[in-house]
Symmetry: D2
Subunit: 391 residues, 4 copies
């Protein structure tokens, strides 16, 4: 699938890492970083540098071929070495997953209108699926979706509420899921549109994604029929295509962030002294760093395994659930230890460790809380057990 | 020691709770809440209401007598039901501990000049002990203190750096620790003073304490000799008096905050449905709430036990270390579960759960990271073992 | 309720502790200790010594009054300082709970025939409630009970299977639960009886309870009607009376066992050296002992709290569930750390630490696995929430 | 290195699995299984069947070539599906590691005399390294070794104590480490020998290794000089060769045991009902099985990664430490969950789950407790950090 050899990918990843460390890390205390993510001017500035350095959208080759998932893992992890790296390099969520999906299922016309600008890093996109939790909303349970679409001549009209729509504020490309009689449908939408109103950008514990996460009201949004992805009723099936790679890409980027947090904590523990010796020479601290070293490796292996499953042509839903749970929980422990090792500095904004801790806390919720994945894994275990019984 | 009966304390605590829920909770989304804590105007406004309701500084009786520690625990926990409660009621850190210390060791003149205004809720104070971590700074290890004081006639002159000084920005009363030839000394200081420069208010993961936490430069600060607390060289001994009650009061307040977070998460889990039933009817969620219920009780018991030790006239250094570790780690788990139960809402600022999570994360560092306490407990275990050997 | 003052109880507990350490600890490597618990000859021998020392059945005063639960906690914990202590002192399960139940609900004739011999330490008893797990058996879910009883003139006839019946092998007094049309019934039964066949003594991970745990077949067992406890249909209600105190007494005894394991591990860590210093001076070890010290205190506080609830005349079902979960899980961590601190010695039978680890592992299952208690606590949380809503 | 293709290895592993399930599992309740491992008659009987089935010593090809470590992992895991499997197939510790070492460093004469009989499964061996913990013994710290050897003409004379010598009781081949002036030396020794006295077979929590673990006294043991492995002083270097593969093989075998325990627990949870539905349909149970599924995969990946490092010709000391810690701690959690899922049955000997739990508990100590590995990993992290600084 990929047109790059593994050694070419390593070389690319090295360039990505060098760029992030040299060019993006200095932005980590830029005043344009707000609670709802980096301002658009900062996004443009960083992307300009990435474009010049030849590392923008590094996981999609000229011509549109994607790296394999195992190759993507290497590159995206490096882009994540700064919380700003994915935004700067256009490897961030939800764009990475949106570009993947469009690359797989969009028509040539759709690609030309919506995908090219994304790959070029000239636009941002959002994926409108999750719905609010007003007692009965969808949340992590897509069967409860209430947003509707109905045919009206050569258009579809969409109505509903969506929430936690990452990057909606500032996006020019939207992918919206809604329910028709035929089942779920996915639409490509030009934004901004007065029918898609951002009611509120949520204040969330994380703060690295441009545009933040929004609560959105869709009121009689008219979409030309040729902007539907696939066929009416195919929405869930198409979303499944996006699901595992997008989920896995979260793991890749945040693994990179935790690698960096661990570097910072290690450096701190080696330089700083207390009670007569370097912090790292206290087993209480050294053991935490040892645990990080082990779990960082485990996270890397789990991602690589799941990526291999996807590269084998599988949907990988079960495997990406397993990986998401394992990796997000490990990264939380890793980030937490980094904070703890650094004491007061760890809970301050003086380094990115505190920010990474907050990002990773959100990750345990985003893309399905740990508990939802365990729930579906338990069902899978039961099905497999039944299937193993002699008939 | 206390002049209130236990039933009077319960009545007082009920009034505190009612006030916090009715009058302070509505401020929780006030725009004057910033990253560095509530603005002074908001502090004044809330305190005015507390004064009117007769619940300002509720743990110090008219005449200056403090409630016993066990009684204080009940009252301070209730004040903590909102993250803003302790500020509103003047039960917050570091003022609570500072008032306690001055009540114990200040001269009548010192009390009249510095303590009365604090008890009246008309001023805020700061305790200048911790020093920066520039390779060799004090951090959690007070023996590494570098701030000095030297006698100059009827004054002392203080020089040094301090960091993580809670509430320094906006405080009018300072208690400053510095090292003389005779050992550590504590000084009462009028603030602001040009010799005490707030170099920076740190951006920290927590955001409920007025004035935030500051990095401070002290340059040739002149303090009249009669503003020394106790005698030259008695600084550490005096700080010990403050240590355990102040540490325990953190536990009290944040327990209250977690009780509230648990209420919010329970309400959410009972109202919201997913996959065909109320969240709480999913064992994955119900078990988390059950674990909260158990650990909230354990935290309460541990605080009550340690308070009883202090009420018995003991310094309680070991007991308050044990309690701080146990309670802060339990509250972290509790707050984390509340976030997780609430999914996307849990990581948003829509409720205080996200804020409580951040506050409690900092608590595991503040007042000595868990690891420092375990380190000193291990030393204690070894000493006790040696003492138990037949001689 | 109790006729002893608190200081008398402390004196009694001290005598119990002294006796256990001086007289029972030496039996800990006695060859008569088998996989199914101490042999009857060893039980008799140890009890003879306890009787002589005046510490047999120490929680029941002459005349039959029980200590309060808070007092019982102190005495039973000390009896547990050796895994053999409870057997030697007649404070063990299931006898302790059985004596408690009979003291509360037996008729004078029943007491004279069945209780007196138990209190005198001359007999052992068993409580026949749990049923086998053959797909649909009762296990932790008493509603699934299948053992039946039917009236036959002046007798009842009982049929069914029971499992995990602690102490059945060698017991002379049985309390059997069976279902009649009127509901569950409890019967006092003389043992051995050919109609009560011990099919197998289970090999279990624990090995301190005399008689072990048995799988039992009851076939047409005839019991005179006056050996029913209470009335037909009152069986569950009566079992509830036994439930919380019996559950709590497990916590008391095993806390004692873990106190001792911690002593042994501490002694080991202070004496033994590795990598240039005493083990305890390695933070990796010292921190584990510090964690033990904290959790031992938490277990003690939780037991004391629950005991106080029971002493207040409450059934304490919720509180004893909370306590059982908290204490058993903490004791598991404590025992596990003791093993780990002691390395190879910790997994060997050279000290009782390995045995305590195995006992405590079983404790997390016995008397309801942790998960069953969390399940019922979640239900309670939901009920309380509903009750708190304005009507 | 290996002469088998990967698909041949899969075929071999399938045969191993089939043999273990069909032929060895039925022995799991054989009365010849004692507390100190299977009796020799049982070992012989099982090995006879393995020989007939062509699966004895499956990881060493005729001619003496070993499978690669990644291939070995697949085969050894399958052999571990029963706790008796490794003994039956001759893939057990310490023989597997001993055969590996002799294959690498023994002279042709030494191989002919000592290795061939081991590979043929006709003898058992022991590795005499660990020393007793009498205050200053070696334990996990080999620098404290006290057993000495001195040259006496054409012989060496060895004196000392060893402990936790797995399989010593019944072994006919010993590899003994002792200290000479030149440094540590390794000797091949014929056993039994009156100068090597088994003072005691320890009672340990695990019980699957034939011969158990012994405390051994070596008194003036004379060994011909040509039975030294390598040169005088090379003992530690040679032991390093054995170290990582032997450590990793523990992970392989016990992973197999936990795979089986998880199967048993899954089957139990799917068949048995409580509170109205199958256990697995309770999230409290289903989540535990989901966590097992995730951690079993993680263990497999970590082993495969470390095996790959070793196959690359590296000593892999750091990598095998990381893997040992990660895998043993995960397997402990997995085994613990299996016990918990199965309730009373889980703590009984009715299935092998209880036995696997005990074996895995010991594994966290054997081959270096978790803490020793973390200690050395922290040192490695510090060294790497220093090396990364600009010079």
């Amino acid at each position: 699938m990929s047109e790059l050899t593994d050694s070419q990918v390593v070389e690319l990843a090295d360039r990505v890492e060098h760029f992030v460390r040299a060019e993006i890390v200095p932005y980590e205390h830029d005043p344009r970083l707000g609670a709802h993510g980096p301002a658009e001017s900062l996004v443009r500035e960083m992307r300009g540098k990435a474009r010049d350095a030849g590392v923008l959208t590094p996981h999609i080759l000229p011509g549109g071929t994607h790296l394999s998932q195992r190759q993507t893992a290497i590159v995206l992890q490096r882009s994540g070495l700064s919380p700003l790296g994915p935004t700067a390099l256009n490897t961030m969520a939800p764009d990475e997953g949106n570009m993947y999906l469009l690359g797989k299922v969009a028509t040539p016309e759709q690609k030309s209108r919506f995908l090219e600008t994304l790959v070029a890093g000239d636009a941002r996109s959002a994926f409108f699926m999750t719905e609010p939790a007003d007692l009965e909303g969808a949340g992590s349970d897509p069967s409860m979706m209430k947003t509707t679409c109905r045919r009206d001549g050569n258009h579809w009209i969409i109505d509903g509420h969506k929430t936690f729509i990452t990057g909606a504020d500032g996006a020019t490309v939207g992918i919206v899921m809604a329910k028709a009689e035929e089942g779920a449908c996915l639409f490509l939408v030009d934004l901004p549109d007065p029918a898609v109103r951002i009611e509120r950008v949520l204040d969330t514990i994380d703060s690295s994604m441009p545009g933040g996460h929004s609560l959105v009201r869709i009121d009689e949004l008219r979409v030309p029929a040729d902007q539907m992805l696939g066929d009416p009723g195919s929405g869930f099936a198409l979303a499944q295509i996006r699901l595992s790679p997008a989920r896995l890409s979260h793991c890749m980027r945040w693994l990179g962030a935790c690698v960096r947090a661990h570097e910072i904590a290690t450096d701190y523990a080696c330089r700083r002294h207390a009670f007569g010796k370097a912090l790292i020479d206290h087993e209480g601290v050294g053991f935490m760093l040892a645990e990080n070293k082990i779990e960082l490796k485990q996270a890397e292996l789990m991602i690589d395994w799941c990526a291999g499953v996807l590269d084998g042509g599988n949907l990988g839903t079960v495997e990406s659930s397993m990986t998401k749970v394992a990796v997000s929980e490990m990264l939380m422990r890793i980030a937490d230890r980094c904070v703890q090792v650094m004491g007061g500095t760890g809970v301050s904004g003086d380094t990115i460790v505190e920010r990474v801790f907050r990002e990773v806390r959100a990750f345990r919720i985003y893309d399905g809380p740990t508990e939802v994945h365990k729930w579906s894994l338990a069902k899978k275990i039961k099905r497999d057990w039944s299937a193993s019984l002699p008939s």
